[in-house]
Symmetry: C2
Subunit: 215 residues, 2 copies
């Protein structure tokens, strides 16, 4: 498949490389057509990899990943242009983190709203599916880095889009459990779990962990 990755950071690169390794064509995007990080990634990743502007990658992708820093996500999607987004699935793994006051980061939106909901409201015909956001990006695409059974979570307004994303998580990335938390408003909880995850990372000294729902 042709896949667009919005964002050129470590999350975008890790997901992009995993997708190329699976045989997909991946276009990585930034605000400019020739972002140095994207260019370097394209060079080492091979001929299935390319890069361009947000609009070029959004047009290219049948499936899109939002791997931008959360504070820049709405802007990035505006640059991507509505016509390139409508009716597509956007897998939103971004977090609305604000590091301007140092660490730990705070959330720029939470409690009564979320980044996932903001993106969905800004692009009503885009099928936003929030998933994997609180995880380290290596765990996102290599869940077997974490021992034992553990769960991925998704939410979104469109059932078909969630079915597509569930298949991608299970068939492409190897997730064994995907729990559907409901409509896009569940993004609130999925983003607000970040401070808890950060406390656990500090305690455990690793990012190779995840939640398993015991019941």
């Amino acid at each position: 498949m042709n896949i667009g990755i919005l964002g050129t950071g470590i999350v975008g690169q890790t997901i992009g490389s995993a997708l190329v390794n699976l045989g997909h064509n991946v276009r990585m995007a930034s605000r400019t057509a020739d972002n140095p990080s994207a260019r370097a990634w394209t060079k080492v990743t091979g001929k299935e990899a390319s890069h361009g502007t947000f609009a070029e990658a959004a047009e290219f992708g049948e499936i899109l990943f939002n791997c931008t820093a959360g504070m820049g996500s709405l802007s990035a999607l505006q640059f991507a242009k509505t016509a390139n987004l409508n009716y597509k699935v956007l897998i939103d793994v971004a977090n609305p983190l604000d590091y301007s006051r140092g660490t730990p980061p705070t959330l720029t939106v939470c409690n009564t709203d979320s980044l996932g909901e903001q993106i969905q409201r800004a692009h009503p015909l885009l099928n936003v599916v929030k998933t994997l956001n609180y995880l380290n990006c290596d765990v996102m695409v290599h869940p077997h880095r974490v021992a034992g059974s553990h769960d991925a979570f998704i939410c979104g307004n469109n059932a078909n889009a969630k079915a597509t994303v569930t298949l991608i998580l299970m068939e492409w990335f190897g997730w064994s459990s995907v729990i559907d938390l409901g409509d896009i408003s569940a993004s609130r909880g999925m983003e607000m779990v970040i401070p808890f995850w950060l406390s656990l990372r500090n305690k455990l000294g690793t990012t190779d962990f995840n939640f398993k729902i015991a019941k």
Copy 2:
């Protein structure tokens, strides 16, 4: 031991009854000396149970549980009086939930502060330990209601207080794993996990579940 329970709702009653069943003397507290819920609980629970004002229960208890509704916790602790709180351990299981806009509730404080931190700041010589807050109260004191291994989390500024609470969780309530997330600022994450827990409850149709950290 003599234990003070602040709050007369289902959480206070469930924890209070579990403590009486373990052989402890429990005094349940409200703003008034003869709260009807507290009186009814005392009557059915037996001679180890008693009730009184916040100040009376705080004076009585060697260990205190904050089981008030989060929006009333600071006020309840003010009524309990600093002299009755200083140097004691307060096990804070409360959540700062606001139902005034309906369900799901929002948090009255989050992101840059938390109820646990607010309580600790208001009572610097009280040893606040946040724990179990996001769980259903039956699971708090009967963790075996949830199958398999799963984790309790604690945080607080005083290591001795956390050691005491860890013993209480393991020896009295039967928790097999207690993860120390650090100082009281980790309350932020433990309270912000509530919306995620609520989404899971809606999905799973039960409150008998918990998080297990897979690593």
